[in-house]
Each structure stands twice: as C-alpha cells, then as structure tokens.
C-alpha cells in the first residue's frame, strides 16, 4: 500500500493524503482519474496532471507506468513568485 499526497493550492479542502495501491501498468494519468473519483478529493484530474507528478521523490511525465513497487506520489503545484 502506497500513498498519494495532494499539494494543490486551488483545492485546499482536498484530502492531504490518500492511501493507494499502485497497480503495475497503470499510468499517472490513470491514477489522477481514479483519485478524482474519490470522496474527499475535490481537485479534478486535469489539475493533478497540470504540473505532472513526483513518484518517490522524482519528477515523472503523465505517461509514467507504475511497476507496483512505488511508495508515494505527490501531485503538487509549483510555486514561483518571490
């Protein structure tokens, strides 16, 4: 069992974390679409895919395919002002 974490500033009411089992062959796009269906996740899949995702601390594209060994996915907006 892994975890999906959400740091999406337009959706502060979305669950901060969601326990999730990453199935081999599923993609980040699949994951975003499944997460968007979960009660408590108010962010749409498009928002999750907007900036890509980090899998176990590394940036991946939306086509990334899980092999089932992953522990954590972060859907996270980037913040750029200073």
């Amino acid at each position: 069992m892994g975890v999906v974490r959400f740091l999406l500033f337009n959706y502060p009411d979305t669950l901060p974390e969601l326990p999730f089992t990453f199935r081999p062959g599923m993609t980040i796009r699949d994951l975003a679409e499944e997460c968007a269906q979960v009660s408590g996740v108010t962010a749409p899949a498009s928002e999750m895919l907007n900036t890509g995702a980090m899998v176990d601390g590394k940036y991946v594209s939306t086509d990334y395919k899980f092999d089932g060994s992953e522990g954590a996915v972060d859907f996270m907006n980037q913040i750029g002002d200073g």
Binding site: R5, L7, M54, K58
Partner: protein, 343 residues
C-alpha cells in the same frame, strides 16, 4: 570590544567557529523582492562577509507591503532595488562587503554573478531564471536554495552540489512550472514571504558553516491553512540536466529576450548584447517622440501610450503592454533604432 554577533555565537549550532566561517563566506542573492531583500537583510545582520545583490528592477509603492528593506524614499527616487538594498544594508552592518548589480540574470550574465561565491539564494519570480540558476550552479558546482511563494504558501528546497544530489529538473519540468498564478493575481501575505525568506536564510547559514543539520527535503507550508509538510526529493538518474548534462537554459544565447513581469502590464526586454548608453545624448534623440526624464540609474520615456524604463546596459521595462512581441517592437523603435551605430 563589543561583539554584535554574541547572541548568535552563543547558539551552539553556530559558535565562534561558525561565525568566523560566515565572515569569510560569499553569497549571491538573485532577485531582491520580498524573499531576496529579506534574505539579504538576514544574511547581512548574521555577518555573512560578502553579499552580491542582484536585481533588474526599481522599488515601487506596491513592494513596500512585504519588501521589508525598502522605504517610501526609495520609491520616490526610483532607485534600483540593488542600490537601495546596498545602501540600507551598509547602514545595518558596515562590517560586511556588498556589491550591487543592476542586471537581468540570464545566460549571458549568470557566470559573473555566481562563479565566485559559496552559495546562491533564489529571490526570483519566475522559473526561467530558476532553471538557468539550477543549471549554472550545477556547472559551477555551487550550492543554491530555491524559494517560491504565493498567497499564504511557501516552498523551499536546498540544492547541494554532489553526484548523488538532485537538481531542480529532478523534481519538476519547466513546462509544468510555467503559467502558474502569481502574487499579482492571487495576492501575497507579508508573513509568508518573511517566513520563507527566513527559512532560506537559516538553511544558508547551515550550509555556509558546514552544519550536518541542512534540510534534505523540500519544505512546503500554508500559513493560512496551518499546514506544513516535508517532501522527499531524490536524484533522478534519467534527469536530462544532472543525469545527462543536457542544459536547456545555461549557455543558450537566444537573442533579444522579452519576459512578462509578474502582473504589472509590463514586459522586460534584454538586448542580445549589452549596451553602454549615454543617457544625456540618448534623451535628446528620444525627445521628438515623447517625454523623457533621466536620473543616475534610469531613463524614463513616455510616448503617451507606452512607457520605457531604460537601464544603461540596454535592458528596458516596457510599460502598458502585455505581449512580448509588441514589447520587442516598441524596444526596437525607441531603443535599438535610436542608438548610435557601434564603431
């Protein structure tokens, strides 16, 4: 003799040895807005021996809500932020050395800004410069600290040079980081920027004195929602930048550059080659087209529709325009085409 650092030295993480390391340390702060000016202030007070202050812009009234180093007098005199910061920091701690650099951090200038310092602090407001900074720091084997903010949210990550260490590209793509909302559209709280800048400064001090307490994760916080989180970031062996050495920004010369400025109806234009403009004679050339005012640092021109704030190195901020290409056209009309031919 009175010691201004006595309280800091008494903190066991710093001590007298740490203080001495700070004294001989050299830091560049790129961008002197809310984050950079606060970080520079903290570093100067902490006794960092040399601080290079880099910014391309002037102080504006809307800056004062969160850019703690500046005053209304700086707004009135339209002084570049780098020089305003230098003046105030000299008044705060004259024992340090400072260098004010009024320039755009780009592929042509970045080497001279970072190659001779121990650490680079990010006070910028866009990811184009951050990716450039990341690649340049990798090339020069420098440590740097990323900080980004918006509203009540802050995010920061230390990038320590090393073969097993991640770079900015390991954790995000440039395409994914573009077109994010800005402080101009979403607002910003001064507590957010003050805390984030202080976090950057605190890590800077640890890095400079060689502490083993340097944070490895990215830190995210939301002051309004009372949330914070540390997010692990690791090196991606497949990273095009630190994995394969394929730079997308560093060393790339792309001619005249134009970039929209954070919600100000303005576009910055940087010429392909640096100029050395004599304002007095240039003002005469522009007078037939509109009003011209000159001070020691900038030439301001207004044709009734567009404004041009011109710096001596040829960089300009084109006002009342949103489109980069339109801004380039205005620049070409009023700057490039009015400059005397190069001998």
């Amino acid at each position: 003799m009175e010691n201004r650092y006595i309280r800091q030295e008494r903190f066991q993480g710093v001590g007298e040895k740490g203080q001495e390391k700070l004294r001989i340390s050299r830091v560049t702060v790129i961008g002197l807005g809310a984050l950079g000016s606060m970080a520079a202030n903290n570093l100067a007070r902490a006794g960092v021996g040399f601080i290079r202050l880099v910014d391309r812009d002037v102080v504006e009234l809307s800056n004062l809500q969160r850019q703690m180093l500046y005053t209304e007098a700086d707004v009135k005199s339209q002084v570049p932020k780098a020089h305003a910061a230098l003046k105030h920091l000299q008044e705060i701690n004259s024992e340090n050395a400072y260098e004010a650099v009024v320039t755009d951090a780009n592929s042509a200038t970045i080497d001279s800004l970072i190659s001779d310092v121990d650490l680079v602090i990010d006070g910028t407001d866009n990811f184009e410069v951050r990716f450039l900074m990341s690649e340049a720091c990798l090339h020069h084997k420098k440590n740097w600290i990323y900080g980004g903010t918006r509203g009540s949210i802050g995010m920061t990550k230390n990038f320590i040079y090393g073969e097993d260490q991640p770079c900015l590209r390991c954790m995000m793509s440039y395409d994914g980081a573009r077109n994010m909302p800005t402080c101009a559209t979403e607002g910003i709280l001064n507590a957010t920027t003050a805390i984030l800048a202080s976090l950057e400064t605190n890590e800077a001090i640890k890095i400079l004195i060689g502490s083993d307490a340097v944070r490895k994760e990215m830190l995210y916080f939301d002051l309004w929602q009372n949330r914070s989180r540390k997010i692990p970031v690791v090196k991606n062996e497949e990273c095009p930048v630190c994995g394969y050495g394929q730079y997308s920004f560093y060393g790339k010369n792309t001619g005249m550059q134009a970039a929209e400025l954070c919600g100000r109806d303005s576009v910055q234009v940087v010429p392909a080659e640096e100029e050395h403009i004599d304002f007095m004679s240039f003002a005469e050339r522009l007078k037939p087209f509109g009003t011209v005012t000159v001070n020691a640092f900038t030439l301001d021109f207004d044709d009734g529709t567009y404004g041009v704030k011109l710096f001596k190195n040829g960089r300009a901020i084109i006002k009342n325009v949103l489109d980069a290409n339109r801004a380039k056209s205005i620049y070409t009309k009023y700057v490039t085409n009015q400059l005397p031919e190069k001998k």
